[in-house]
Symmetry: C2
DNA sequence: GAGTGGTCTAGACCACGTG
DNA sequence: ACGTGGTCTAGACCACTCG
């Protein structure tokens, strides 16, 4: 049987003593997968088989398999069996942080200047938000964020008045819109899009850049429960701001 | 005692029957945290206290606490106790995919054109890679990727010959450098930077864009084990390509 | 009905941090 | 010495899938 030889390799792959058993089981299974002895979609031995082959209690085997499942190595189906997951390769991720936090983390000073804070009407085009009908009120703010006095972000934001009725009454020298909105309407989900654009005349002036400097534009829409809370257009000068990310492989 | 009242609230928060016990325990604890009854850095009842208060076996309590820890809600210290983690807010992530896969997922046709495939010498400046000394050989490739015949990415790549000695012998009409490199040197870690730049004359010509169109530049460095494998500069026309991402809150 | 994973228990031993 | 979390076991019952 293929599973017989595979399991005997499994047992030998569990050599080292100092680690907890469930971890050695996990490592042994990962070894089989990495070595190609167990292929994606292939069924691996059942819990009770592993109990017999490895001489370990079922709860311990179960923990190892459960953790490997949540880590994406395995797929389990009750009544059917445990299978090697499709190789995910890797997922390269970029984190997009709150600007004030990010500047603080770099040990720099964050300041901001409020350009606009007003109530407007949704026009169904650029000034709109999911769930807010045309002609309904919206809040609008424009803020420039500075890092050690240098402008690094122009934040243009629309807010759903139903979700944050006191948005216009806040002092945005003290609290950032992001922080305030997170308090009154905790984020449940969001989407964003990153693109490269050229700044218009107003943007050039506020960010103190010239007409030839490309910018990163992050458009972000966030939700609390089933309600759209806010949509933001965050514009960064290309020469002063970059998005960083690290990633790791899975298999 | 504060923990006494907190625990009695805990027990009442565990109402519903149909869910497994460890899940109800998890939900009850999350409820306490969200409601603010248990604050960040505050110690929560010990496993044995929870066993007594909730009338559940310790293994079940342990599983609930262990999972909440791996999900970022709690921090545990052996010999000390279990504490509510600092609120993470959320982490907004952008996924950066393999271009060929991404185009295929959209149901479009991916083609590519090889511009350059050569051996060069590391010069310690732009042509360099961690772990490869100046004057050592490097492989260099330039490929344009097309989506339904329209150029969407210019891939400029340096490869460590030690990690992929046969890189120059591959047919990049058949396999993408990304896919080939993942096969011979499975990725273990990577970093990337996204910025907005203006294209130079060569880039304008190959991507068929005009001089005023800003581009997204993704610079990516990947490692396999402790060895740098490849560094890539991926240039996307700003009008034809955007990075998308979704995110969800944690707490 | 036989085999699978999903869960739960009671009790045990250990390593660790604190007083 | 004590309480904490970390782990492990043997055995149990259940829900599910499949032939």
């Amino acid at each position: 049987m293929t599973s017989q030889s595979a399991v005997s390799q499994l047992a030998s792959a569990m050599g080292q003593q100092p680690a907890p058993i469930y971890l050695r089981v996990k490592q042994a299974i990962i070894t089989q997968i990495r070595a190609g002895h167990w292929q994606p979609h292939q069924r691996i031995p059942s819990e009770s088989e592993l109990v017999n082959e490895l001489g370990v209690s079922r709860m311990t085997i179960n923990r190892a398999l459960r953790e490997l499942t949540s880590e994406g190595y395995l797929v389990r189906m009750q009544g059917v069996g445990t299978f090697v997951a499709e190789s995910k390769g890797y997922t390269a991720m970029l984190e997009v942080h709150n600007i004030a936090e990010e500047i603080a983390l770099r040990g720099h000073e964050h300041t901001s200047r409020l350009l606009t804070l007003e109530e407007i009407q949704a026009d169904g085009e650029r000034l709109t938000m999911p769930g807010v009908a045309q002609g309904q009120p919206l809040f609008h703010s424009q803020i420039v964020h500075y890092e050690d006095g240098i402008p690094v972000q122009l934040e243009d934001r629309l807010v759903n008045p139903i979700m944050a009725p006191d948005y216009l009454k806040q002092d945005y020298q003290v609290i950032t819109p992001y922080t305030y909105l997170m308090q009154v309407a905790p984020l449940s989900a969001g989407e964003h899009v990153v693109e490269a654009v050229m700044p218009d005349a107003f943007q050039q002036k506020t960010l103190m850049i010239d007409a030839r400097e490309p910018c990163l534009l992050v458009r972000r829409q966030t939700w609390s429960g089933n309600h759209a809370v806010t949509g933001a257009r965050l514009l960064y000068p290309g020469t002063r701001y970059k998005l960083l990310g690290k990633f790791r492989g899975h298999n």
